[in-house]
């Protein structure tokens, strides 16, 4: 908002400009309580927690099952989706949950006027480099989640709330790994 003198009455900001400004984020503690209640609902209704990496696993298994079926069926790692007698790989709780994540995030972003096609990156890195880092980071994330049997949702949040020993070890390791590499990729963001 601009500072005005007594004698000049500022024109009101146009409705269009105001309508386009993104809303500020919710207080992190309030958002955290909301997230915690969603997690609690999963425990109470389903007897399980949240997750995300599992949905990517199911989708990858399903894709591989028709692009390279004999390879896919030979993989022990994909066995929980492709072994004989298992239901369709996409009839996976996490797959439906993650579709919900997309929908819920879209709803929140629409209300907050934060839907905008683009790239998240700092000023010092090219878009192409950012996409490369994003792809590479995703690949490492998948390997890490594969080893750890889950990601920040399934292990850190879910296992964290249940005081799961392995989950807490995972969570601390994630922060260690993240802080350890941060300096070396700071150009992406600063």
């Amino acid at each position: 908002m601009s500072v005005t003198t007594d004698t000049v009455v500022p024109l009101p900001a146009s409705d269009h400009a105001e309508a386009r400004a993104a809303a500020p984020y919710t207080n992190p503690y309030l958002a955290g309580i909301g997230l915690g209640l969603v997690l609690l609902a999963a425990f109470v209704v389903m007897g399980r927690g949240l997750g995300a990496s599992g949905a990517f696993k199911a989708f990858a298994a399903w894709t591989a099952s028709f692009v390279a079926p004999s390879w896919a069926h030979s993989r022990e790692f994909l066995g929980e989706y492709l072994a004989a007698g298992m239901p369709h790989p996409l009839k996976e709780w996490l797959f439906f949950e993650v579709i919900g994540v997309f929908a819920g995030a879209l709803i929140s972003a629409l209300f907050a006027r934060r839907v905008r096609v683009g790239f998240e990156k700092g000023p010092s890195v090219t878009t192409l480099a950012r996409l490369g880092f994003a792809f590479g980071g995703g690949a490492l994330g998948a390997v890490g989640a594969g080893l750890a049997r889950g990601c920040t949702s399934g292990q850190a949040l879910t296992g964290g709330a249940l005081l799961n020993l392995g989950s807490w070890a995972f969570m601390l390791s994630v922060f260690a790994g993240g802080y350890g590499i941060a300096y070396f990729v700071r150009r992406q963001w600063t």
Binding site: M46, I107, E120, A169, I181, T190
Partner: protein, 201 residues
């Protein structure tokens, strides 16, 4: 005991997929509310300018933890029927470090990448593509590291269980640690001089 409802047979597998979708909506909604559909917001945690990731994560953990503990104590929730993923300590530690590196290199984790994609971010799609490729690469690699992959198995074990502490005591300790952490986070954010935290897109 009436909960977990699904484990007591109140609805079947097909309905549970609708429940998954509904819960996912809540999950995605609050992730985006918190700003976690933004890689810049997420990464600020690792450059110590905005510690919302820590605040949201631990508030969520404490909220759900207290809820579960209280409902179990009330006799409403059968905690033994809530699934605890088995611990494989070494792979989870190594996996955690690798995941953390991927998180800061990529700018997202799987759930936040999906949320970000919903807001239109192309780099989130790239992260998702990377996850897809990485999953298949891991499926190819896993038999060669099968020994490591299943090393240090500890079964379903909790922190109070492993250290032989009363469950309520550990819950209390986590709450105190979180409150201390929140206070410390405020100090860190103030010291590092960034009064302008990442507030919006």
């Amino acid at each position: 005991m009436t909960a977990p409802f699904f484990k007591f047979g109140m609805f079947g597998d097909e309905a549970s997929l609708l429940v998954a979708f509904a819960i996912g909506i809540g999950f995605g909604f609050f992730l985006e509310r918190a700003g976690f559909a933004s890689a810049r917001k997420l990464m600020a945690q690792f450059y110590l300018t905005d510690l919302a990731v820590f605040k949201v994560m631990f508030t969520a953990i404490v909220t759900a933890m207290l809820g579960v503990t209280y409902l179990a104590w009330l006799g409403v929730l059968d905690l033994s029927l809530v699934y605890l993923t088995p611990t494989f300590l070494l792979p989870q530690i190594v996996g955690g470090v690798v995941f953390g590196v991927g998180f800061v290199v990529g700018g997202y984790c799987p759930g936040t990448a999906v949320a970000s994609a919903a807001t239109g971010k192309i780099d989130a799609l790239a992260f998702g593509a990377g996850m897809f490729a990485g999953t298949l690469a891991f499926a190819e690699l896993q038999p060669r590291i099968a020994g490591f992959f299943t090393s240090t198995p500890m079964g379903q074990v909790t922190i109070p269980g492993y250290f032989n502490l009363p469950y309520g005591l550990v819950v209390f300790a986590v709450v105190i640690a979180a409150l201390g952490g929140f206070y410390g986070a405020g100090i860190v954010e103030r010291i590092l001089g960034k009064t302008e935290r990442v507030t919006d897109a």
